[in-house]
Amino acid sequence: MEILAKLGIDWKLLLAQGVNFAILFFVLKHFAYKPMLDFLMKRSERIEQGLKDADTAKEKLVQVSEEEKKILQLAREEAKALIAEAEKDAKERSQKREEATEAKVAALLLEGEKRLNEERVKMLDGAKAEIAGLVMTALEKVLHEKVDSTKDQELIARMTNK
């Protein structure tokens, strides 16, 4: 006990120091370590989650861009096909129109020819009749006599056959 006193050990002080440390321990445990560690853990979880999210986002981006490429390719092909078809269609249509025009023109020409022929025949017939009349009057005048129908016929035949 003498040595303890010489070293300054006093049970009251011992207890006081112990209590002091215990108070510090409990206060820090509840108000410092727990909130701090919880906070750190939550944050590291958040960071992990964020990194994971970033990874999935990157993957999705790659996926989406690939899909986009595919869709674009498809669209391009479709467009090409559409254009080709339209071109073909247009060609066909213009050909048909040409043909139709040609046919119409041909028909018109044919009709024109026919009508011309008819006209000519008619004109010829008219001319023939008129000439015959003229000849008859001329003959009458020359012959001074009425040509009857038999004589007339005879004369006409003789004239035209000459």
Binding site: K6, L7, G8, I9, D10, K12, L13, L14, L15, A16, Q17, G18, N20, F21, A22, I23, L24, F25, V27, L28, K29, F31, A32, Y33, P35, M36, L37, F39, L40, R43
Partner: protein, 250 residues
């Protein structure tokens, strides 16, 4: 120049004599509580200033504890005690290095001499504190061991029947283990006290020999010693805790 192994009494509060070491212990723990609780109320997602430092220290400490225990749950269980020991011992060691410590005080009578009784003295340079802390740590170690293994298994570490395999040797080792538990207390007590007290004495002597420049390297040395002793105390506590929770294999 007065060097006293015992902490000097400043005044008495009721029946409790307030020594300078107890005073600084109270101040250090009070400051720690204030700083930490205030810091916790304004934790920020993006740390700044002090929060950064605290985060780094806590994470490093937790990592270290986890490395020793190899068990996350156990690491979290041991963390508060280890961290408190580390912080309190560290800052009370460093408190002994503040200028004015050991020289500013009340003029009074101590051990029959008229001398200056310094206001402040490192808490670790008082056997009352180191002994109290050691006893608490050793008790916590025992309880942790009992809680982890159960009382019979834990007691089996110390009381080994002489009729089994290693026979008398096992019994003898058990008794030695029991003695070493008491030894732990004493070595804990005097290691911390010795280092810090010696440092203070060294600084005082140097200061009296050459007041300028010369004490500086020793001051740096004492800063270093303060960290080392805090780490040693905390690490030994950690190792003892871990050892207490591990079953010994026969």
């Amino acid at each position: 120049m007065e060097i006293s192994i015992a902490a000097e009494k400043l005044f008495t509060l009721g029946a409790l004599p307030i020594t300078n070491a107890l005073l600084i212990g109270g101040i250090v723990s009070g400051l720690l509580m204030i700083v930490f609780t205030r810091l916790m109320t304004r934790l920020q997602e993006v740390p700044k200033g002090l929060q950064n430092v605290v985060e780094v220290v806590f994470e490093a400490l937790l990592d270290l504890i986890q490395n020793v225990t190899q068990d996350k749950k156990q690491a979290l269980q041991f963390f508060p005690l280890i961290a408190t020991i580390f912080l309190f011992v560290l800052f009370s060691n460093w408190a002994g290095l503040l200028p004015g410590l050991g020289t500013v005080g009340i003029y009074g009578e101590h051990n029959g001499h008229h001398t200056i009784i310094p206001f402040l003295r490192s808490t670790s340079a008082d056997l009352n504190f180191t002994l109290a802390l050691s006893v608490m740590v050793v008790l916590v170690v025992q309880f942790t061991g009992i809680a982890a293994l159960g009382i019979t298994k834990y007691a089996g570490k110390f009381f080994v029947s002489p009729l089994h395999k290693p026979y008398v040797i096992g019994t003898f080792v058990g008794v030695l283990e029991l003695i070493s538990e008491v030894g732990k207390t004493i070595s804990f007590t005097f290691r911390l006290f010795g280092n810090v007290f010696a440092g203070e004495v060294l600084l005082t002597v140097m200061l009296h020999l050459v007041p300028y420049i010369l004490p500086l390297p020793f001051l740096f040395l004492e800063v270093f010693v303060g960290v080392i002793q805090a780490v040693v105390f905390a690490m030994l506590t950690l190792v003892f805790l871990k050892m207490a929770t591990v079953e010994i294999e026969h």
